[in-house]
Subunit: 146 residues, 2 copies
DNA sequence: TATAATAGTTCATATAGTGAACTAATCATG
DNA sequence: CATGATTAGTTCACTATATGAACTATTATA
């Protein structure tokens, strides 16, 4: 099997999967925010607290894009900006009570939808696929570093 | 293993992988087009010929978004619009000579970059991951249908 | 033939991205 | 310790992509 062909199959598969997930997000992330905004909220939620620069690096976008996005979420009352007292350049981002609730409620809704859909399939088989995915993710990180 | 936890791991892995690919695209798709535009060109290239409506359905976006994107590609001389003679509502989209060349050249460049990176890893192992990915893609299509 | 449906475009508007120029704060070195 | 470099974040002008409603033109159908 040629690497060339593998890459092409890989690209097709990953696009199909990603489109599928994105559709599930589009159809189920309600509450007046976009899928992108939800992704950022989710990121802050798992990190508890973080900065714009961290988000920009993690998602590989410019800092100005993050400022704009964060401002929209701030205006909706979903995150707060807290200045560091030691280093006053840094602004920490943290979910507000409303933001946490929104993330948790939406995750629950998403899980319910996905679980219903996955219930017809063999769980052990699915777990196998996901382990492969995780190894691929590790490989991707290795590739990006070196 | 709970489904809930599996989904969460899945989401993290797929995001990592997708971000990685997107970065490779961003860094390597030159030639004055965006990654989104390249994706559409690639789609038309594999289909040989298709319509705006097909693209809109495939990528789950509105027809007006496709019109805008196609217009940009048309203005760059990368695709042509051909009216159906039987049904004059339909406009077929096809790559121009320049468009085909751009897709093929860019794919070659991408493959070269990725192959270099993958060369340090076990090919059989990678093939296993990709087979898992493909099964997951099939599962995703099943989920979307039913 | 009148009415539905379909393919695609146009328009107003919102979101998300870039990169350059900027402010403010901190670091680092001669 | 002063000055220059670096860092964090914002602002601005601009572009790309997305939505949905209203529209034109064409074809299908009852």
């Amino acid at each position: 099997m040629e690497l060339h062909q593998l890459i092409s199959r890989y690209q097709l598969a990953i696009n199909t999967i990603y489109r599928g997930i994105n559709n599930i997000l589009k159809q189920n992330v309600k509450h007046d925010i976009t899928p992108d905004q939800f992704t950022i909220l989710q990121h802050i939620h798992t990190k508890k607290i973080c900065t714009s620069t961290e988000i920009a690096k993690y998602f590989s976008v410019g800092k100005s894009a993050v400022t704009a996005l964060v401002t929209r979420l701030f205006d909706k009352g979903l995150i707060e900006r807290i200045r560091d007292k030691e280093d006053r350049r840094i602004v920490y981002l943290k979910l507000t009570e409303a933001g946490s609730e929104l993330v948790e409620r939406t995750e629950q809704e998403l899980y319910q939808v996905i679980e219903e859909k996955l219930d017809h399939f063999d769980h052990a088989e699915i777990e196998g696929y996901i382990k492969s995915l995780e190894k691929l993710a590790t490989l991707m990180i290795d590739i990006e570093k070196g």
